[in-house]
């Protein structure tokens, strides 16, 4: 990147431009934006004197819906632009940087500030602020202090500090990290391993990716501390190959850490040796399951094995292994540098700290958010998320991705923490949060998630392999209007058995979306089966398009949009749909400006 400007020209003191280069930002074109800024600044001969790099790359700051986000910081005062494209750069440079007048119409609106100000960012604070490809940037914000401090302590003191923080595993199950480390430390066996699970597979979840992309050193530091605590000299990061940018940044960060002797032999001038290897996952969702993940590192097919023995006693290559999620490990440096008690001030007594969620679906502000555990769901959806898109009414929120369940709008006041979520039949999972409104069909939604788990089942145990397949087939026939009378009972029976009898967490949680939607939205299933109607008008096969005589304004747009000549219309006459010809494509529905197609 030609970011170092060595030009003579008007000197602008205290100028910094920060461009988001997370995957969301890159997809929106941030690379071109950076190049354009460089070109513009060069052509105008501007150079910045305070920071070395005038145009800074930063990780994801969460508000992906408005990417590319650009901060122009002059004299310490940041102005944030949203939806920046390369062709908008010239005007920003000319008006804002040269003339000193921010381009008001492109600046972020109040929802940007709502989105950020109502979060509690301790983990993501650095993401979007520092350059993830520069170890000095991390060190400048007291990075690696936690590791240094830990290595001066006894490993049991480190474990005690983490235990004091009450940190629970962010991978989904919420097991106490301090306890896990203690079990691993006390297990007989040598060598021991620590693994960072970065095989983030839930559709719609991207918090682990953003943390590694935005602040990879935090994860490395967490692994050093964890490795020291459990007595491991080698750590693995098991990361999806589908995350090329995260892998790249992690590699850069590892190299930089090795050069600084933060990794390798006698790190931080202590007697402790520690290094980290990267292992790329090949795209199997089940490899996010801890035992399957370890099999995969060993070079075997990623099949989960029954526990006990637990991984902390018999894990990778049969040796005691501590496996933690990216987000868990990224919290550890903060706990060690600021203290477990400080960490426990966030959240609730049994659910301490913050949690990162990927807020998606029918919500105004989609993106990555960090909130203290125990926050009411309502605040997430309405205060941070800005409410439901198009001001429709909220129907439900799905948490925990394909393994989670849905929370109906009537439970919107519930606190979001590990225990409350599992009580309601959902789960924390890795932190996906999908908002659904009245236009979401719950049967269709659970079919979507089940189709995912069904195809990602490893095939080892019968209930998961064939059971989810049969459940999916039942859902398919319900959404296609071929539902049978006892299908709901059959789904419940199968779902309950699969949850009880499956071998690993994938199968045990796969029926959750179906069972929880049946629990809270049984009438939707019944409408599909008994009345042949999809109340949300999503399931195509159940749609019956008609033209409302009252609303039709005789414009003929539906007639022109219909690809199957199913609509009869003449000037000054209301349109009529011939159901025998209708292919239920919905083109007329979309084309009608008066909502007259019912």
């Amino acid at each position: 990147m030609p970011t170092k400007t060595k030009l003579r020209g008007p000197e602008i003191s205290d100028l910094m431009i920060k461009v988001c280069v997370g995957t969301g930002g890159l997809a929106a074109g941030s690379r071109e934006v950076i190049e354009e800024f460089d070109r513009q600044l060069r052509s105008k001969g501007i150079r910045a004197t305070i920071v070395k790099k005038c145009v800074n790359k930063t990780g994801c700051r969460g508000f992906c819906a408005r990417d590319v986000l650009v901060d122009v910081i002059r004299n310490g005062r940041p102005d944030t632009y949203e939806l920046v494209t390369a062709d908008r750069v010239a005007r920003i440079v000319e008006e804002h940087i040269v003339q000193g007048e921010p381009v008001q119409e492109w600046l972020v609106g109040p929802e940007y500030h709502d989105f950020h100000d109502k979060q509690t960012k301790i983990l993501l604070r650095q993401c979007g602020q520092i350059d993830p490809e520069d170890i000095e940037a991390y060190i400048a914000i007291r990075g690696y202090k936690g590791a240094k401090k830990s290595l001066a302590l006894d490993p049991y003191e480190v474990i005690e500090e983490v235990r004091l923080s009450g940190l629970r595993g962010r991978g989904g199950a919420g097991f106490l990290t301090g306890m896990k480390w203690e079990f691993c430390r006390k297990s007989p066996g040598d060598p021991k391993y620590i693994i960072c699970n970065a095989d983030e597979g839930d559709p719609g979840a991207f918090m682990d990716r953003s943390i590694i992309e935005g602040n990879p050193h935090a994860v490395i530091e967490g692994m050093i501390i964890g490795g020291y605590a459990v007595g491991a000299n080698l750590g693995y990061v098991y990361i999806r190959a589908e995350y090329p940018l995260a892998v790249e940044r992690l590699k850069i960060a590892l190299d930089q850490a090795r050069k600084k002797n933060f990794l390798g032999k006698k790190i931080f001038r202590s007697e402790y040796d520690f290094d980290i290897k990267i292992k790329l996952g090949a795209g199997a969702f089940v490899c996010g399951e801890s035992t399957a993940l370890m099999r995969s590192i060993e070079g075997e097919r990623g099949l989960p094995r029954p526990t006990p023995p637990r991984s902390v006693t018999k894990g990778l290559w049969g040796k005691p292994t501590a496996l933690n999620n990216v987000e868990t490990l990224a919290n550890v440096p903060l706990i060690m540098s600021k203290g477990g008690k400080w960490f426990a001030t966030f959240g609730t007594p049994k659910n301490t700290g913050t949690k990162v969620f990927a807020l998606t679906g029918k919500v105004k502000n989609t993106g990555l958010i960090e909130v203290p555990l125990g926050i009411p769901l309502k605040e997430i959806i309405f205060d941070i998320g800005g409410g439901v898109e198009k001001n429709r009414s909220l129907k439900a929120v799905q948490t925990g991705g394909p393994s989670g369940g849905c929370i109906p709008a009537s439970h919107i006041d519930m606190p979001v923490d590990f225990d409350s979520l599992s009580r309601i039949g959902s789960m924390m999972g890795s932190g996906g949060m999908v908002v659904m409104d009245e236009t979401t069909c719950m049967v269709d939604m659970s079919k979507f998630f089940l189709a995912f788990t069904e195809s990602e089942s490893c095939g080892k145990c019968v209930p998961c392999r064939i059971g989810t397949k049969r459940m999916l087939e039942i859902l398919e026939r319900i959404t296609e209007g071929r539902g049978r009378k006892n299908d709901i009972d059959l789904l419940i029976e199968l779902g309950t058995d699969i949850k009880l009898a499956s071998l690993c967490g994938l199968g045990r949680s796969a029926p959750n979306p179906v069972l929880s939607t049946i629990q809270f939205f049984r009438e939707e299933y019944e409408a599909h089966i008994h009345d042949g109607v999809c109340p949300s008008r999503v399931c195509k096969a159940l749609r019956q398009y008609t033209v409302s005589e009252e609303l039709c304004r005789m414009c003929g747009k539906c007639f022109r949009a219909c690809p199957s000549e199913a609509i009869a219309w003449e000037k000054k006459q209301k349109a009529v749909i011939d159901r025998t010809k209708c292919i239920k494509c919905g083109a007329c529905y979309d084309a009608c400006p008066f909502d007259a197609i019912l």
């Binding site: 006990p308 490893c458 095939g459 392999r465 397949k469």
Partner: protein, 354 residues
């Protein structure tokens, strides 16, 4: 720790167990039946079929007996209503993707899936849905593989990797499409297959069957005759399966002390010689230019006389014996005993030395 005796109760029966023993193993020892499809004593515990789920007092969810280690004062119930229901549903799920052709299936009468379906009154119609319709593989000279009958217990792939260590087959694909296969579905013979038929021996259904025995008799029509393999000195035992005086196939003898049911290609498939017309069935003695069939008594008498006269004329160093490695250890021991104590000679050797 390792020698500590653990006491558990299975169906109220008290059983003393060793540390690290599994519930299934303890139950088997005590003669308590727990159904399973993926368990084989030759293999590591797998926990895939989920049929051995049992109720353990104090644990809310059912646990697989095959992978759950015993713990002191554990109380296990092998059958409850809810466990019976889960098992029945699992069998019904398996049957929902299984061809209904027991009537012409080679494994009928020797099929665990069939037995369990009968025991639990299960059929596949309740969960009927997509069924595999895959081509039957006849690309191996000894083994027929019908993937449609496979229940993915993983026993074939595990025996191929854990016991034979040939690595010919492994699980491939994911979800409903997972199945045991060679890499890229190539013929087994191209993928290091040793034709040992171990996979056939462990298959609990008709997915893997012996080509040579096809159509030659149902399991219940066959008489099993235990014998020792005549090919080498290892001394593997197996059962010759005989129908109407003819050997139609070889099956594993799992209680055999030497091989625990494991066999190689010779023992399992090399039995054609038994009914060969060229096989010498009676002793032959050379008379003039020709061999003449004689009785065993006559032949032995002849050999004894010859040895006697040689010993008398030239002494013990003039005679010796060379036995075959295809004889059993006991036979080899006897020949050496004969030479050393009766002939008083040390001239004894065996072809296994080369």
């Amino acid at each position: 720790m390792a020698d500590r005796i653990i006491k558990i109760k299975i169906n109220s029966k008290e059983i003393s167990c060793k540390h690290h023993e599994t519930v299934l193993h303890a139950a088997k020892r005590a003669g308590i039946y727990i159904p399973t499809l993926c368990d084989d004593d030759r293999l590591e515990a797998y926990g895939g079929c989920r049929l051995c789920l049992v109720h353990v007092k104090g644990v809310p969810r059912p646990l697989p007996a095959c992978t759950t280690p015993v713990a002191d004062r554990m109380e296990v119930t092998t059958e409850t209503d809810s466990i019976r229901k889960i098992r029945k549903n699992i069998i019904e799920l398996l049957l929902s993707n299984h061809p209904n052709d027991c009537m012409r299936c080679e494994a009928t009468g020797d099929c665990t899936l069939q037995d369990l379906s009968y025991e639990y009154g299960a059929d596949g119609t309740r969960f009927a849905g997509e069924k595999w319709d895959l081509p039957i593989r006849e690309d191996n000279p000894f083994i027929t593989y019908d993937p449609n009958k496979c229940i993915l217990c993983g026993r074939c792939t595990r025996i191929c990797n854990e016991v034979v260590m040939a690595g010919t087959i492994s699980l491939t694909g994911r979800g409903f499409n997972a199945m045991p296969d060679t890499s890229f579905g190539q013929p087994r013979s191209l993928k290091n297959c040793e034709f040992c038929g171990q996979c056939v021996s462990t298959c609990p259904t008709g997915a893997l069957t012996d080509k040579k025995g096809k159509g030659k008799g149902r399991a219940y029509e066959l008489t099993k005759v235990r014998t020792t393999c005549s090919y080498c000195g290892t001394g593997c035992n197996f059962d010759l399966n005989v129908k109407d005086g003819r050997v139609v196939k070889v099956t594993s003898a799992y209680d055999a002390p030497v091989n625990h049911g494991n066999l190689c290609v010779k023992g399992r498939y090399g039995y054609d010689f038994i009914h060969s017309f060229e096989r010498i069935r009676k002793p032959l003695v050379r008379k003039g230019d020709k061999f003449k069939e004689v009785s065993w008594d006559e032949a032995l008498e002849y050999v004894a006389q010859k040895f006697k006269s040689l010993l008398k004329k030239y002494g013990p160093s003039a005679v010796g014996a060379f036995s075959s490695s295809r004889c059993t250890n006991e036979e080899n021991f006897l020949i050496s005993k004969l030479v050393r104590t009766v002939f008083r000679s040390n001239n004894v050797d065996n072809c296994a030395r080369v």
